[in-house]
Amino acid sequence: MTTTAGRKRYLSDNPRYLAALFMSPAVIYIIALVGFPFVLAIVYAFTDISTGNPELDFVGWETFRRVLADPVFREALWNTFLFAVIANVLVVVLATALAEVLTKDFKGKWLVRFLVLLPWVAPVSLAAITWLWTLDSIFSPIDWVLRELGLITENVYWLGRPASAMASVIAVHTWRIVPLAAVIVMAGLIAIPSEINDAVAVDGASSWRKRFQVTIPLLAPIIAVAVLFGVILTISDMSVVYVLTRGGPTNATQVLSTWAFIKGIEGGALGQGAAVALFLLPVLIGITAVVLRLARRREVL
């Protein structure tokens, strides 16, 4: 009997069924939470559905035409672009510098590493609320320090004026993404063979020449990946702007993600909200394609 039992085949012996079984949780998760809303958004974008009229009346490109005609949309599009570019330029510079510091040996390195990573592990909305208090129009500790130092006589109203509100949003985005980018760049720094650094030392290059002619060119593919993550996180995130300014004052900090939410969820125009949200998609796909391509080309060299 034992011999026949040992020979018996089970369904789970078949790699095809087994593979399908193991894959299914991930596939179901993606379909339910990403695929379904995505398809729904595309369908909505071609209808005039709203919370008041939940019927799917297809209107073709009419929704997009209306969205594009809205001056607030154009301002939000420009802001999205502006915030992503400025924040990520800052992120690249700060993260590369930080990564270099964190790969050096010094006392209390673990504490510094921990503190650097803290903004990344903190929940976005919690962090944004902390910043909301920090930038408060009356109780801002930044203002207090500046006042005590005699640099200002009255409060700045960080989030109350267009320029300082935009600067604040960019600063918070930068603060949030720098840790992730620094860790990515750090991994790249550690991956540079130590013999390359020895060769640079023997060849007698100064530290600036080393940084700009050897280290950064070798890091370029990994910095591109960090930029990719940074751009996607700034463009797709709505919580920072929403918590800090709700797009104000008078849409000065409005971005596409907050505008889609305000229009579609708060304003009830589901079709238009979906159209605004979808507007980001080709942009993000385009950026991803370009950056990945650059990264791959650097690797081939």
Binding site: E195, D198, A201, V202, D203, G204, R209, V300
Partner: protein
């Protein structure tokens, strides 16, 4: 060109003593090999000479000048690394030009120098390629060109052949020897490969546990090992070692020959060799067994293919060694001692 000298050089990494009071002095234009098993401190010694590690104690003199504390760029040394460490994002021309750019040399002189170095190693046609597009041997030549373009006074090489396959290695060794002879630059070469060391070195420093066990010509270290470690590290198979009344004595496997094969006019010491196993390797035969009276010590004899005498397994055979080929060592310390009388 310069003489390299280290005096009482030590390097500690925490509790680990990597290099332990080494004294070496090279000759002008010499090819000096540092040979030893991995972890013997040979690479650390080389890196200290290069200035990539700071010594814990001791002096390093390049051309008579103490360079301890000087950065690598101030030492006029060139180094070739095991992986060659070419800059992967630069063309061959830019790789070779990099140390010149770092010196601030103007671009006209620079390109002339790059051209000169490229011609020296026959790589002119590769100048616009990138390291990824080169074979192992070509990469080595680029690394050599980059090292030599600054016309250094000392040339340091860290196992530069170990990344090449066996066939390429022989050719690369040839090339390297030829370049070194032509330029006549003092060269320090680190390797764990005794064939490389014997074949290339004017002299060999055999290292173990951070110390230099012997410094001598290939003939000296092979035929007159300073101690038991050198005797057993060099030679493949290593020297046979036997214990006598109050000392150790040894002989090379190729010196251990059957009765009647060796020339009879020399004074020979006879042994009864019990053969357990024979390995036939084409150009020679290895005989494994032991000598009667020393049954616990394994002995290897190496017979060249020209010795066709049949040897039977599991039988005793009359073998002998020329008396002047016996080497004697202190039993406790392991160092070389003068010839002793052998008890029967």
């Amino acid at each position: 060109m310069a003489v390299v000298e280290v005096r009482g050089l030590s390097k500690h990494f925490g509790d680990v003593v990597a290099v332990d009071g080494v004294d070496i002095r090279s000759e002008e234009g010499e090819f000096l090999v540092l040979l030893g098993p991995s972890g013997c401190g040979k690479t650390t010694l080389l890196r200290m000479i290069a200035g990539l590690e700071q010594p814990t104690a001791g002096e390093i003199l390049l051309g008579g000048e103490d360079v301890v504390g000087l950065p690598p760029r101030a030492r006029r040394i060139a180094m070739v690394f095991q992986s060659y460490a070419l800059y992967p994002h630069m063309t061959v021309a830019n790789n070779i030009a990099f140390p010149l750019k770092a010196q601030g040399m103007d671009s006209e002189l620079r390109s002339a120098k790059v051209q000169w170095a490229a011609e020296l190693f026959g790589i002119e046609r590769l100048l616009q390629r990138r390291p990824r597009q080169l074979s192992g041997g070509e990469r080595q030549r680029v690394a050599l060109a980059r090292a030599l373009v600054r016309e250094p006074t000392v040339f340091l090489l860290d196992e530069p052949l170990s990344n090449l396959d066996a066939k390429l290695r022989a050719a690369a060794r040839d090339d390297l020897m030829e370049f070194q002879r032509r330029i006549g630059i003092t060269t320090i070469y680190v390797t764990h490969d005794q064939v490389e060391a014997m074949g290339m070195g004017d002299r060999i420093a055999v290292m173990d546990h951070g110390k230099v066990r012997q410094l001598g010509t290939p003939e000296e270290v092979y035929h007159h090992p300073a101690d038991v470690f050198v005797a057993q590290f060099l030679g493949s198979p290593p020297m046979n070692l036997l214990e006598s009344a109050n000392h150790l004595f040894g002989f090379r496997p190729e010196q251990f020959l059957p009765e009647g094969i060796a020339k009879d006019e020399t004074d020979r010491v006879p042994f009864t060799f019990h053969v357990n196993r024979i390995e036939y390797l084409g150009s020679e035969r290895y005989l494994y067994g032991h000598i009667r009276g020393h049954d616990k010590t394994k002995i290897i004899a190496m017979l060249p293919v020209t010795v066709t005498l049949p040897i039977a397994i599991d039988e005793d055979h009359k073998f002998s060694v020329a008396r002047d080929q016996l080497r004697f060592f202190d039993r406790d310390e392991g160092h070389k001692i003068p010839p002793q009388a052998l008890d029967a």
